[in-house]
Symmetry: C2
Subunit: 442 residues, 2 copies
């Protein structure tokens, strides 16, 4: 889903007009970073870059956009003509998708003539914010599942179609196995999953009839057993197995309400006693990481968790304090000093230091410094064109995220913990910050 070139705050256009009229077209650097981690997160996982780069590369103003901007009385004809020819021609450096990151670290830097870098602000914040929030939430849910599979059931509760579809991609990066969202399956080649809802059971003459009919059409299905009474539903699956004999191919039952710990144990026992040890148990219904954690900790025999609402909207942290700030213009460092909203000047790099395979410290440095550790910001777009060597397919991004998560100190990953990772600022950056501050105050 490609968004309109008009998807920007009006002030981007008024500032662009002013830059245009004032002849301000020197190169600028804008930095994307999260000022503070949400209270419930010790780190976030960068995601959304690939979709963003695609949008930026193809950002064009169509005649209907130009007409609309003309109607707003913020434009002059020469400015509108300039917009009609707009192409993003800048460079973008970023952390790879799937990289865990921390407060104040630049996760993306745009270097371009100031108007170009300014125009994409709203899009960058919206799109990287969305997938980052959702990939980060998914990683928590997946960790809580302790090896059981997690399926994204969130399409109906996500905030709109864009969130549902890009969310499915972000969840996959965070470790989720598959999605119920067919549009996302098509858009990103994600595995899709889903079988039946209560409405099918209710529309049939009886629950038994529903199970029989549905498994005739889809022999290797999952039967939803809680429409009327969960345990009675499971017993009907056993009766169906007896009736069908070797033709019984049902793969799983799904529990969608009630006490999932107790019901999963009863269900497992009934299935095992009937020799249906291969029939798996899928659980869903209001699940999020703390409930899943409690279930897996106590050993509830659940093979697959279907997770919707809470993951779809990242309900405990639906927004992050993500900012896109001018840090350099015309070769000079820039920063604001507004209370609680300072930013670090200039182009930067982030070095991650590892010890015995575990990340121990990040250092935010000036671009061009060489410090110990792995430099996390890499070129992804140069002169408006994506850098081909950086192209990753989604399973590669997912593997990279898994590997990077595995390299984080364990205390950062514990669900309820409030731990802080050491993020330092290089001496060179600290002194550049002091110089810049002195200059702008002056």
């Amino acid at each position: 889903m490609s968004s309109s070139a008009l998807f920007a705050d009006l002030y981007e256009f008024t500032m662009l007009r002013a830059y245009f009229e004032l002849g301000m077209n020197a190169p600028a650097t804008f930095s994307l970073f999260v000022r503070n981690m949400p209270p419930q997160r010790n780190f976030l996982i960068a995601a959304g870059l690939n979709d963003l780069l695609h949008e930026i590369e193809h950002l064009r103003f169509e005649p209907r956009h130009i007409d609309y901007l003309g109607s707003l009385k913020i434009s002059s004809q020469p400015f509108l003509d300039w917009l009609a020819d707009f192409r993003f021609s800048g460079d973008i450096y970023a952390m790879r998708e799937g990289t865990p990151f921390f407060q104040n670290e630049p996760i993306l830097e745009v270097i371009a003539p100031i108007a170009e870098a300014q125009l994409i602000e709203t899009l960058v914040l919206n799109q990287i914010g969305l997938q980052t929030i959702l990939a980060s939430k998914a990683a928590r849910v997946v960790a809580a599942a302790r090896g059981a599979s997690v399926v994204d059931f969130g399409a109906r509760r996500a905030h709109g179609v864009d969130a549902a579809t890009k969310g499915a991609r972000a969840f996959y990066i965070g470790g989720v196995e598959s999605t119920s969202n067919v549009a996302a399956g098509q858009a990103y080649g994600l595995p899709v999953a889903g079988t039946m809802a209560h409405s099918f059971v209710e529309a049939c003459a009886s629950e038994m009839d529903a199970f029989q009919s549905f498994s005739e059409v889809f022999p290797e299905t999952t039967l939803l057993v809680d429409t009327y009474d969960t345990i009675e539903g499971v017993k009907k699956v056993v009766a169906l197995a007896r009736a069908l004999g070797t033709n019984f191919k049902v793969r799983a039952v799904r529990l969608d309400s009630g006490d999932l710990d107790m019901l999963s144990r009863q269900t497992r026992r009934i299935l095992d006693d009937a020799g249906l040890t291969d029939v798996q148990i899928v659980a869903s219904g209001g699940l999020e990481e703390t409930k899943i954690d409690a279930l897996t900790l106590r050993g509830a025999p659940i093979d697959v968790f279907g997770v919707g609402t809470d993951m779809a909207v990242s309900s405990d942290a639906p927004a992050v304090d993500i900012a896109y700030k001018l840090t350099e213009y015309a070769g000079k460092g820039r920063m604001k000093l507004s209370a609680g909203k300072q930013s670090l000047p200039g182009r930067k790099q982030v070095f991650r230091e590892f010890r015995d395979g575990v990340a121990v410290r990040d250092v935010i440095a000036r671009e061009g410094e060489t410090l110990p550790g792995v430099p996390l910001l890499q070129p992804f777009m140069l002169s408006g064109r994506p850098v081909a060597e950086q192209t990753c397919d989604l399973p590669q991004i997912r593997d990279y995220a898994k590997e990077q998560l595995a390299a984080l100190p364990p205390h950062l990953k514990a669900l309820g913990s409030h731990a802080r990772y050491d993020v330092a600022i290089s001496d060179a950056l600290a002194s550049y910050e002091r110089e810049t501050r002195a200059r702008v105050i002056d």
Copy 2:
């Protein structure tokens, strides 16, 4: 932005295939309702219907959709051929957009051959859920502003482009004056607003230079004064006014950080002392209804509130427990009995009773009953076509919402209150519920 016909959970397609193979094509009724109000909401405001109806009317499977579904191995060729010819042919009854509603009340009912009504489930939940959540949040923010204007600054923090754009529409229904989102302005004809960001100030040689240059291009603008030091920034606006004399047309200053109560008072005093009594004060930066309520209650001299993140994601209630349930099939009432998830059978109507212009009670009744009060469910689509007489433009919807909010009991609207409105079930519906329950248990 039109979504793909594939925007549905996979189980909708597997159920459709089963309905198709089993010859189940009798009329069904599905009901959309919210099971429980979120703890922070005494009511919600219905929104999103117009966009939804447009999508349903134009829902078509294109060849690339059919090819993808064919690749999933859940389909047969006759089923794919049937999908290729799919048109929604059903009826939709709904509450008008802008109607406040309560727990368990049907806000929308779909009557159609079961496969048609089933297919649109994900879309209905996602789209009505989104705009309903956001319109409801906006109404709280607007109430807290006590007559000051509210501007939507949320595009960058909304969950994706669809949420940002439809959100701007929902906020407008909830009483917000304008949006910063230009794409939403174009899509819905909304008033748009915005002038300058910190980056413009930082890119200029000095703050004074920035104010001077910007107000040359846009004389009637709002100047952002907190880039370095808010009070110093305000003093520069005063200096600019002195320098420009009668050519000074600046309309407002914007405060975006710090103690907004204190800073707005100091700013007002400085402006007034300089004779700039017409220059308004815009405040923004992490605002939501409780902070705005505190500011307006204490009389902070703020004329306009710019509200972003918290409204954009409805951060205190980012999801609602909205459900779309089969209530009738082939002329018989249907319901599920799953723990905590019961639904009311059959087609329904909601009557709202008023006393002295104040809503006092709602009664959920069977369709066809005539009871005291205003029937809230009206036909919006018949045989797949929108009902022309129901078409409202957005300002009409906004006015209607304002009028309906004014008719709610005041205790429901107090920000922190947990009050419950009386929602009764008619005798006829109660006895139909008992009959249906007895039948399905049987």
